[in-house]
Structure formats: structure tokens, C-alpha cells
Symmetry: C2
Subunit: 261 residues, 2 copies
DNA sequence: GATGTGGTTCCATTAAGTGAAACTAAGTCT
DNA sequence: AGACTTAGTTTCACTTAATGGAACCACATC
């Protein structure tokens, strides 16, 4: 991950570096970045300088370490508020979480991968935040399959080849055929199950969030562990989950999300 | 606001454009941006192309309009989570909001201006100007004065000349002298009041959030309208507010925020 | 006072960004 | 239908800015 090859121009490199700092989750020293990136010393240096000048990064006065700058924080809020389902869905997730007492996930799709944009976990608030913003595969998560199932055919065709089908667990789909078959079932049932396909012991039930126009714009899921609940018990929550997804979808009516895929 | 002159190099321009799109709060067409920016057509075009290539912006397939891209959303989450007081303060704000039943604001300072990073609104009845992610002046807001008061002298000296002293309301400070005098009082009392200085009918009580080292890293406030409460009533909440600020400050101990000012 | 490490600056070379203008694709009007 | 505007895209000679190897500086550490 990190620096993909397609760094066109100076801007690409700068953004690459910016992301690199952001990914570190804290102050990073110059030499650490130098080691991480394949940029020559002077180039990296200038890039960082520029970003600091721009307020996107900020440099610690004494240690000289780099971190997120205020301008990025401001931009971040802006971007997040307008371009993610999260703020809109928040109250609905709160309600659902309070009612079912299990972990709730809200996800969108991003180039064939699942982007978790919000989470509720009734037990620990902190971990929640740590994980939102993370990316997971689509083919082996509840939310992923829920989205895939309801994607327009054309989009799905573009997304399928991007799936790695890495066998995370015994139950993981190992190829497109079985996955496509399951998607059919999901379309019929209206919800997707994660049957310990991504992580052993973790199961979930997921529903797509659809705008009134019918476009899938995300998915919600209720996740739990096999030690706490069975799939049947999760299935009992289906009406509640669908209701939540519908509520979010209805509100998202006017809202515009970046084109999928 | 928006595009300050200091756009060094291509990267600066690109970020400028990026921010411009983000500020629009929705899809923007090329020509709108062309009108907004002072960049020549071709330059703007290439800049946008680059940003789209980089995944920071996304272009609508049919309309061709530009909006926030998924990569920016991902970056945004990252940045927000690690670089703002918000995630850390969240539970404390929730608690305070539940207890006092009034609007709660969390703010940081950013180049002499106040950046609202989170808010709790218990009633939709009145809408304060402070939307999360928004910027407000320091000299005429509760949170702003609370921060100013406890800033180290050197920082304050840098920040004071940045205040515009625009008279939003009759009670607004009109110059540094009276403001500095009030800051003295605030230091003594430990809290700052907004006495309808920014918006008529809106009052608040604010407390600085300080790390154990004593550095001000933000402020919390309880805001209400004159129709609902008096300043004296707000003052009764002082212990509760101070407690909340202290709790956040204690937790922020290890946490590092970009250098102020 | 020598050696090492982390960070900053120089400068000739090269690549990349620039933007006026020309062009294409859709409308819109008569 | 043909002329005319409007919105977006491409071209290309020109200019500016990015590049990176190497030298340099600051400050520890031996």
C-alpha cells in the first residue's frame, strides 16, 4: 500500500507524501519518511517543505517531526461532512446500536474495496474510531457482498476482477462463480451474511443502503462473534436492520456520492 | 478567505483548487471553478485532471462535475481522527451535553481564528453559527477568548494583530485594549463568557482545555440563547464545564497537536 | 578533535508546468 | 437547417520549476 506507481507530476508526489505522513498516525521524522519513500533526500525535503508552507502538514518546532496540519484538518472535516454517508447516518446508527447492542458498521465502496466510514461498538469507544476509515475486501464481508449484490451489472463487472479472493478463512469465497451465486441469493433475501468469511468467529448481517432512485450507496451491518450469537439470531434482527438501511437511504435522497468503482 | 496569495508552485495551486472544490459543498462544474479561480482555463483544467487522477477529486460521469474523491475521504478520516481533539473529547462532550441539555462546542485555534471541531446540539430550535469545521473569530466568541486568555504571551502577541475587531453586535470588543482587559479577568475566573458579542441573543460560557503541561489546546463551551437562559444560569454550570475541560485535557496528555498560531 | 547521523542547501541539468489560442461538441436561436 | 453561443478539451512554443547528486552544516557520540 502507500505509494502506488501512478504518481504523475509533482502534485502526485506531494499527495503521496501527504498521505504517507497521515498514515503514520503521529509525528514522523524526516529520516523515517526518507526510508519509507523511494524519493531522493532533497526531493522529499522540498516536498515536505511545500506541504508545510501550504499548511497541510505542520512541523514540530523542536523535534522537527512532521504531522497533520490545520489546513488538512479543516479540509478533512469539509470533505468528510459532505462526501461520506457517515454524518447523515449517524442518528440512525445510534438508534440501531442502542437497540441491538451489537457492533454496527457503515460502509461504502471504493474501487472494489470496502471503506468503513463509521462504526458503533457499544463496548469500547476508542477502537471504534481507530477502525473507521479502514479498507477491507468486498468479496468476504457482509457489507461488501450486500453492496456487490445490488450494484448495477456494469459496475459489478468492473468490480469483480478487482477482488483478490484471498482465502482469509475456510468459508471465504475462492472465486467469482460461488460469489456470484451467493449475490443472487442476497438479491432475493435483501440481506447478506458474513459467515466467518473474513475473520474466524466473526459473523454479520448486512443490508444495502439504496437511494430512492435505487442506486446502492453503501451498506449497514450488525456484526457479532459466534460466541455471542448464531446466524439465526442475527437473522432475527433483519427487519430492524432493513428499517435502518431504508431510513438512511430515504434521507440520502438528495445527497450525491462520488461515482462508485 | 479561500485562495490566499501564497500559492507556491504547482502543488500549492493544486491544493488551492482542491480546497475550492471542497468548499463548494457539492458537485461543481468546470466553468464555475474557472470563474471562482483566477487561473487560466488550461491550467485549471490540468490541475483538476491531476487531482482526479490522484483520486482526490472525482468527476461525475455524465455531468462532468467535480466533487470530493474517495481518496480524500479516506485521508480526511485519517487526518481528523488523529489530529483533532474531537475523537478524544467525544465521550466527554456527550456526557456534558446529556447533563446540561444545551449546545456544546469544541474548538481549537488556527492562525488566530477559531476552528470548531465538534458540537452537540440538543435542540434544533436555534442554530448557532458554529458548525463543526467552520471558522469564527477569536475575539468575540467564548471559546476564542478562553483560548486567547491562556495562550502563552508570545503566541498571544502574534494572534492579537490578526483579530479584525469587526463589530458583529453592540457588545463586541472594538479593539485590543478592552479585549486584553477582559482576558485578564478570564484568567482569574478560569472561564470566558460570550455576552452576545458574536451573534445577538446567543450567549455562552467557555473553558480552556489545557494539557497537563499547561498548554492550551482548545476550549469547550456551553451555548444557549438569551430567551432560554441568563448569564447567571450559565455561570451555575461552571463547575461542570471546568470538570469536562479538565477531563479532556487530562486525556490529551500524550496527544500532540500541531503548533498553534 | 575525530566520526557519525540527521537535516539542509547548492546548482547545473532536465523535465514539467504554462497559457493563448485553436478546436470540438453541444446546445440555442432565427 | 444553418448560424451562433457556450462549455469543455487539446495543442504547442515557451518558461519556469522540479530534480537529485553532492557538498555542507549542526550536533551528538566516541
Amino acid at each position: 500500500m502507500g505509494s502506488e506507481g501512478h504518481a504523475d507530476g509533482t502534485v502526485g508526489k506531494a499527495l503521496d507524501v501527504l498521505e504517507m505522513v497521515a498514515d503514520q498516525g503521529g509525528p514522523v521524522r524526516f529520516s523515517d519518511l526518507l526510508a519509507l519513500s523511494h524519493y531522493p533526500k532533497a526531493t522529499l525535503y522540498r516536498l515536505l517543505q511545500t506541504l508545510v508552507n501550504q499548511g497541510m502538514l505542520s512541523q514540530d518546532l523542536d523535534s522537527g517531526a512532521y504531522r497533520i496540519g490545520v489546513r488538512l484538518v479543516r479540509l478533512a472535516h469539509n470533505a468528510w461532512a459532505q462526501s461520506s454517508l457517515a454524518p447523515l447516518a449517524r442518528p440512525h446508527l445510534d438508534a440501531l446500536a442502542a437497540e441491538v447492542g451489537e457492533a454496527i458498521h457503515l460502509a461504502q465502496i471504493d474501487n472494489g474495496h470496502i471503506l468503513f466510514v463509521d462504526k458503533r461498538k457499544t463496548t469500547n469507544m476508542f477502537e471504534t474510531l481507530a477502525q473507521a476509515g479502514r479498507v477491507a475486501p468486498a468479496y468476504c464481508t457482509g457489507v461488501g457482498k450486500a453492496i456487490l449484490a445490488f450494484l448495477p451489472e456494469a459496475s459489478r463487472d468492473k468490480v469483480m476482477p478487482q477482488q483478490s479472493f484471498h482465502p482469509y478463512a475456510p468459508a471465504t469465497h475462492t472465486g467469482p462463480a460461488s460469489l456470484l451465486a451467493e449475490l443472487e441469493i442476497i438479491r432475493a433475501e435483501g440481506v447478506a451474511f458474513d459467515r466467518e468469511e473474513h475473520e474466524r468467529g466473526i459473523i454479520s448481517i448486512a443490508a444495502p443502503i439504496r437511494s430512492r432512485a435505487g442506486r446502492v450507496i453503501g451498506a449497514v451491518s450488525i456484526a457479532t462473534s459466534t460466541s455471542r450469537h448464531t446466524l439465526e439470531e442475527l437473522n432475527a434482527l433483519k427487519p430492524r436492520l432493513l428499517h435502518c438501511a431504508a431510513a438512511i437511504g430515504a434521507e440520502a435522497e438528495s445527497w450525491q456520492f462520488p461515482e462508485i468503482v
